[in-house]
Amino acid sequence: MTAVPTAIADARVAPEIVSSVFYGAAVSNSLALLVAEMSGDVPRITWGNEGAMHLLGYALEDLRDLPVASLLPSLRGGELKLLLRRERTARMSLPVRTASGVFTECVVLCTPTPTGRMWNLRVVSADNEQERALRATADAHERRFATLTERSPIPTLLSEQGMRLAHVNDAFCRLVGQQSEQLLGTGWMACIHPDDLDHVIEQVAVVLGGGDGEAHARLLQDDGGERRTVIRFAHLFTPGVGAGFVGTIEDITERLAFEARLAHQANHDPLTGLPNRTLLAGHVAERFVRGETGLACLFLDLDDFKVVNDSLGHAAGDELLVEVAGRLRAVVRPGDLVARFGGDEFVVVCEDVDEDDAVTLAQRIGAVLAEPVRLGGVDVRPHASVGVTVQADEHTCAEDLIRDCDIAMYQAKNGGRGRITVLDHQARAEARDKLRLVADLRDAIENREITLLYQPILGTADGVSTAVEALARWEHADRGPISPVAFVPLAEESGLIGPLGALVLDETCRQLAEWDRLLGTDAPLRANVNVSALQLDDNLHALVVAALDRHALSPARLSIEITESALMKDPAAARCVLQRLRDLGVQLAIDDFGTGYSSLAHLRHLPVDCLKVDRTFVAELAEGHTEITTAVIALAGSLGLSTVAEGVETAELADQLTRMGATYLQGFGLARPMTGAGAAAWFAQRAAPRPPAVPPAPEETLP
């Protein structure tokens, strides 16, 4: 705001001071002062100091009487009055004409004297060197920034105020397919997807407030296309102006599409394109709310799929799976999920249904699947066993629901082809109980809670025992003793047979080594270890070698017992595995011989040392049926194999079997299964005439 000038005539200021100030002003080279006065109707210069002469290039004589208007030609006509005011100071930026005719930009401050006819003009050049240099530097910065953003391949926005843009670069124009004129101001907001605009504005608000921000936004292109982008905002502050932002845009459309493809691949079956097990689990988990109902799972397993695969080839099998997937997709309601669970198993998930709805859907699926499909020139009518489960109170999590429909499917499968079964509660309880038992068995194996008992095997010739059979026992903390007849098949079904077998083998070897230390030459010469059919693979050899090495035992100390039925599953492979063991020096026995319908031709080629006569045949001896036992012993004899008769409960049976030519006997009536320590005592006691090396163990009883 301008100030009203006050009279300078002040009686308190001594004339010497006035004179001194005037002298200083008159000779000042840095301060340009002029005095103007009305001469008739024309204001003219009447005086100028050194600084004014220097700035304007006039000699004092030339300045005198010069019309003010000739110095300030931009003040045309009456506009000189705007500067030469009567009662007030005035300040104007305007070009001043110098003696050479060149204009120089100046700020002119004009102060009138109280008479209103004389003015004091202070002229300050706005064009000094320092300012020019500063302006040039600022301009250079501006140009550099402009060049940088203009040529940058990164789409860039520059806001002047709020959401209003002052600048967009070519890369942004290309991205959205518009001219910069269409985008400046708030025009660019139309390029942001309406659903994303609020978020973008929120981020801009944060950035204008001084922070940094980032927004994921879809940008709409002129041709109707859409790009997915990340806009990163940085705060900009211009002194005296306010806040704006610089926004850089990263186009992540391709990256997201690639990620989406990866995610799709991770969650979908490549053959059928259906969601896979992972997506199924997530889908059900998202919809599962404990205590609610209405969520249903249908578990489908194609009947006889293996037949198709084996007879028509895998390509036909794949074709069938794709056809089934298509039919399932077509038959379910919109919003239902069809997933490939694995192999020939599919799961359908539906919401807001009761049991009747789910069964109706299962029936519809069954009918649609049963339509013939031509595979390799053959019409095949696919059937599926379907298990149905609708969420109920007992389901505590999404996995429960899927597990239950799996159980229901097995119930359906057990009932015959093409059946639909709603989960039976008793079956669920049993299945869950089995699951718990599997978990306990896993813990028992890990914690070595599976213990071994050893039953001596006695020679018929001298009644001396030189071998034992290792028998696994499991004492469950809550359920008491669990028979190997129960837990071995459980281990086989649940993939625990490997660890269980390894445990038995290792523990037996450890016990043999311990007996060696305790009993020396009186220790059992050999221990028989049972091996499951599922263990009969390439790994078995390494497992046996490792156990023997670990306990420094020779291979001859072990005899591996394999059931006849296990051998007959894949006789060629079995023979190969057994041969390697035999080459190692391990003895081999066929357990339960006579129960597995083995081919005698195969038997001749198997590298075994011993046949174990099954206890059922031995038991028949007491009833006078000697035929099979006699035949087995004779067969072994003719093949050069020894025999072990199992289940010898009485001395009479032992005598009879001895007479029949059995090589060894094993049974409760001769010696019961014992702990390692019990067996040590038993062997020590039998080693006459020396005293026992360990105290006798209490008598063991069979579980």
């Binding site: 705001m1 105020q161 959401m163 005296g240 806040a243």
Partner: protein, 286 residues
Amino acid sequence: MTVLSLPVPGAVVTPPPLAAAPSFDLDRVLASIDTMAAQKPVAAQIVSVANSDDTSARVLADILAADVALASRVMKLANSAYFGMRGRVTSLQFAVTVVGFTTVRTMATVALTDLDDESRLPPDFWAGTTSVALAASLLAPRFGERPQDTLCLGLLAQVGVALLHHNDPGGYRELLAQEPAFAGRRAAEVRRYGISGTRLTSVALEQWGFPHSMVGPLAAVDDRTSTDGALLRAAFELAARLTQPGYQPVDVEQLTDGLLREDAVGPVLEQVAQDADELRRAMLDG
């Protein structure tokens, strides 16, 4: 009082029927520019401090808070479609940040000069002013100017017109009736008052310390040889096309020495027509 008749390029040529205003005293009008400050101290303080380099949004907001009407206008403008913030501006300090210091200063100047009282202004003053402002803002990039500065320039361009009208309401209405077009009216103003409204604006803005970038174009608007005034000339031309019925357009290429071509005018006119009313409401209604 010296009354001069200056030839104004681009103006509609008409005989000078209006006599010089017998009672018009330019000095008194110029003096009133200072006295206004005393009547509206908050607005005057904002006008005074807003362009200082060390002024912060907090300082401006603190001062602004003392003038409820002005503060609410700033809030309203910050949330208007013009700034695109969709109601997210909830604090005065943030509003100042969003609209910018120059705009706050402009709004304070509007309050200071009573431009917010339409009853004391020539008819359709704000329709013309917002159109000039928006056109200037939209055309700014073509002229290498900051849109926000030119918006403010356009909003304040007619402060001088308002001052002339305050001091000679009857005479000015008569003048306006005879010369509704901006350019012709400025020539008529010079004939009647010895100074045009825009030139008077430039004097007032300079007196209030507005930067030369705003004062210069106002002083040069009628000097067709000056590129300084080209943007404002074009803005007045576009505003006339939108707001003055029967207006005969002048080729903008001539007005701007080729900086703007007629084919670029259409979209700008459309945008101005769309936003003008919103801006007027934001500037005036408390």
